[in-house]
């Protein structure tokens, strides 16, 4: 006798709605234990991570700034995952987007090029991200190679390319040997939405991406195709939907959004290219996508929550002397609970002996 899973005859709607909240509650309980084990007062520590950042205007702005790339990338990933295409390399696509867009800023530095520069940078970032994402997608479609592994390997390649550029050819000669490009000209910088803050125009692009994805998924034939190919591949084949083309499309879209998020980060909050431009946005966005139930509006909410863990992590470094890695622990635990709670939508857990048949394909 052991714990066994029993498939529910229909999806539990109550659990489907409560699942993300349950996951967050379980995460908080687990974290309380972890903090206690680290010798910190659990109540104080949880407050530093999840409440203090909500209490002042500066932190709230920072949450919006951090949530922007997370939501933008996660929206694209959700399209991929819904179509059963596993793009795990958004971090690399982000870096390549940042590199491509920054290239324009570096080349035109000091030449006062005019208002076309910023749109061109954003476009270059999106195109580069899409192109980079198409490498694993093409390898999968043409040769059946694992898109998971290839997209991941390309993360390291992009990171090293960025490192090479900012330490080598693109390094600011007046930068005291720091590995960074020169500060971007005003024409190459995203305008701020609120003067004196860091809230930039990229937030609007993120909201547009959320709205566009919601319409695409909910209101168009392409969105229907994505949902069918993901949930019922056999039915999709009978319907004449081309699964391969959908892998390419969803990878291209998610790569474009990741690349766009990358160039927005560089042309917005950071202002120049440097070796570390992302605290793992591309990977955290995977959690955002799942916590948001692969639904654009849900992703908007979960992106804000994950941004909170980043800001909380920064504050905990100062207030609690906890290393920044604690944020990764929180995010990992959260993803586990999100997935576990989702499992309860499909299955009931009970005691009993096993018997039965296989369940095919990843859910």
């Amino acid at each position: 006798m052991s714990l066994v899973l029993e498939r529910r005859s229909e999806r539990s709607v109550a659990i489907a709605l409560a699942s993300p909240l349950l996951a967050i509650t379980l995460t908080l309980l687990t974290l309380a234990i972890v903090f206690a084990a680290l010798g910190k007062n659990p109540a104080t520590a949880l407050a530093v991570y999840f409440i203090t950042p909500l209490t002042d205007g500066y932190s709230l702005q920072e949450i919006a700034v951090k949530a922007s790339p997370l939501v933008m990338i996660a929206v694209g990933l959700a399209l991929c995952y819904r179509a059963n295409a596993w793009n795990i390399g958004a971090e690399g696509q982000l870096l390549i987007g940042a590199i491509a867009g920054s290239g324009l800023a570096v080349v035109t530095h000091g030449t006062n090029p005019g208002p076309w520069l910023l749109p061109a940078m954003l476009l270059a970032g999106a195109l580069a991200g899409a192109g980079y994402a198409l490498i694993p997608a093409l390898c999968k479609v043409r040769f059946g190679a694992s898109e998971i592994l290839i997209s991941l390997m390309l993360v390291y390649v992009a990171g090293l390319l960025l490192d090479y550029l900012v330490r080598g050819p693109w390094r600011d000669p007046a930068g005291f040997n720091f590995p960074t490009t020169a500060e971007f000209d005003p024409a190459a910088t995203l305008p701020l939405l609120i003067g004196g803050s860091r809230v930039h125009a990229g937030l609007i692009l993120t909201l547009i991406a959320v709205a566009a994805a919601a319409v695409l998924l909910g209101r168009t034939l392409k969105g229907f195709e994505i949902r069918v190919v993901g949930t019922a591949p056999r039915a999709a084949r009978f319907a004449g939907f081309n699964g391969d083309r959908l892998v390419l499309t969803t990878f291209a879209i998610s790569g474009a959004l990741a690349g766009l998020a990358g160039i927005i980060e560089v042309a917005g909050p950071i202002g120049h290219l440097q070796p570390d431009i992302s605290p793992g946005y591309g990977f955290t966005a995977i959690i955002v996508a799942f916590l948001g139930r692969l639904n654009p509006l849900g992703i908007l909410a979960s992106g804000l929550f994950l941004a909170l863990t980043f800001i909380g992590g920064e504050q905990a470094q100062i207030a609690l002397k906890l290393p920044q890695d604690m944020t990764g622990v929180i995010q990992g635990i959260l993803l586990f609970y999100v997935l576990a709670c989702d499992s309860l939508i499909l299955y009931r857990v009970r005691w009993g002996g096993p018997q039965g048949k296989a369940l095919h394909g990843p859910r």
Binding site: V4, M326, V329, I330, G332, F336, L339, P354, A358, L359
Partner: protein, 305 residues
Amino acid sequence: MDLVEAILLSIVTASTPLLLAASGELIAERAGVLNLGVEGMMLIGAVCGFAGAWTTGSTAIGALCGIVAGIALAALFAAAAIGLAINQVAAGLALTILGTGLAGLIGAPLVGESITAAPHLSLPWFTDLPLIGKLLFGQDTLVYLSIGLIAAIAYVLARTRTGLILRAVGDDPASAHALGYNVAAIRTLAVLFGGGCAGLAGAYLTLAYTPFYAPGMTAGRGWIALALVVFASWRPGRLVAGAALFGAVSILQLHAQAFGLGVPSQLMSALPYLATVPVLVLISRVRRGGSVAPAALGTAFVPER
């Protein structure tokens, strides 16, 4: 001659963590479970192995700590991916994110500390043989262990009943279940074995490869180990060849510097990752006639009444 020997020796050292991690993942995948958490398990193995050896001064206890830490993380993955039938890709990523974070947390006070590296075998006369002496008789214990491990895996998979059951669970869990085998239990054991191997692979980095701990020191070796399993078409023999090949590619950067080639160091560092892409493509092309992967790889199995 000395240079050739030095290159060969460093290839062995660079290949060993890849071989260890990939051996464990090979067993898990043969049982039908794709665990993408290898990188996380290796990192936690690296930091716990270092912590163990740093506290006790014993390489053996360090290695043991690495193994236990890897198994502990793998148990979490098994509970999620096998116990709750969670999507294996997502659960594996969660494991890597969590493992990376935990390793950073545990390792923060250990950065900058150092230990004595694992001792190397030294046999009178044998180790002093020119060229092959140090290569065959002068490695550290873990190198011999990794070779013994992969030999044992090859034997068990091909020649024993245990291997047959393991392969059955990975190829056709429904039939294995119908024959009365406990699919979940067998898969869990395979995943735990994989975790122990990944933990030991990580510990090898801190105990033998470099006698210190640095954050993120696995540097993607866990992912390369995953690619190696595909490269090896899930066969132990090819795994040894693959590990040697990737080990060679990854030490190329050190020797390229020594030769004074005018190539950016970042390009050399990117080589193992760049090489993986065409390798994965070629392997997939070659086996186009029919997949050689375990048939149920990556799929959840939930017995139904």
